[in-house]
């Protein structure tokens, strides 16, 4: 059972669209280390977890990842608002646009659709917890990669995220 709170975990108010950046951010939604995989990983691993405390943290982190998923898709949505056809063509966004227009669809930056092979649920506590730690470690790497993409997107930080 889940219930919804009608607010983002942290507010997102993007002023200027940037379709180039949106295509990079989208991978954090439905890519190999994205929030969709993260939430499904923790939520799926709960059933074979032998300790109540661990099932508790998997439940609550899995839930929090859904809140992250919503923030990431909001960023992509706001980065692709009010784009002109010229901006779509010039930013390389046309390939996504032809299939989804500006709808949000989970895929990796390279165009690979989300699939559950992005995570494991092995039915073994030690195996699953190691997978969780490995997944968590990708976050640090992702943050560096996003910062690099950000710096080259010709937009000042203050204009994009407030």
């Amino acid at each position: 059972m889940w219930s919804y709170e009608k607010r983002l975990q942290y507010p997102v108010n993007i002023k200027e669209p940037n379709a180039k950046l949106a295509q990079v951010i989208l991978t954090q939604y439905g890519g190999p280390d994205g929030e969709l995989g993260a939430s499904m990983r923790y939520i799926s691993q709960r059933y074979s977890m032998p300790y109540n405390e661990v099932a508790a943290i998997l439940t609550d982190i899995g839930t929090e990842e859904l809140a992250h998923l919503e923030m990431v898709s909001t960023i992509v949505h706001q980065l692709t608002r009010n784009l002109s056809m010229e901006e779509i063509a010039e930013s390389g966004f046309a390939n996504y646009y032809v299939d989804h227009t500006v709808g949000i669809w989970p895929m990796a930056a390279g165009g690979i659709p989300f699939n559950s092979c992005e995570f494991q649920s092995k039915g073994d506590a030690i195996t699953d917890l190691h997978e969780d730690m490995a997944a968590d470690a990708t976050l640090l790497k992702m943050q560096h990669m996003f910062k690099a993409s950000y710096a080259t997107s010709h937009i000042r930080t203050s204009n994009v995220l407030q």
């Binding site: 219930s3 009608k6 607010r7 993007i14 405390e53 508790a56 609550d60 706001q78 407030q162």
Partner: protein, 90 residues
């Protein structure tokens, strides 16, 4: 964040975000430290603040969760008519 003065609504919404962040983090801490009494008291304090702020927001502007919908103006189902979170602002 710009320097413009926050409206009363924006301030309350901001406070809900801050309080809820504490609740989430304490919830996750307690999952693996379930006998930490001090942490439980800390969580309880923030849960009460969260409920109070959520009730106040629902009463004045519309509900952020269905469990507060009974505290709202009954002429309109604001859950559906008010802006959704991804549109920015409140």
């Amino acid at each position: 964040m710009n320097n413009r003065m926050k409206s009363e609504r924006e301030q309350l919404f901001h406070d809900i975000g801050v309080i809820s962040f504490v609740v989430t983090e304490m919830n996750e801490y307690l999952d693996t430290h379930p006998t930490d009494k001090e942490a439980m008291e800390y969580l309880n304090h923030y849960v009460r603040m969260q409920n109070q702020a959520m009730r106040e927001y629902a009463m004045k502007y519309g509900p952020l969760r269905i469990s507060d919908a009974d505290g709202c103006n009954q002429n309109e189902w604001k859950w559906a008519t008010q802006p959704w979170p991804w549109e920015g602002g409140c």
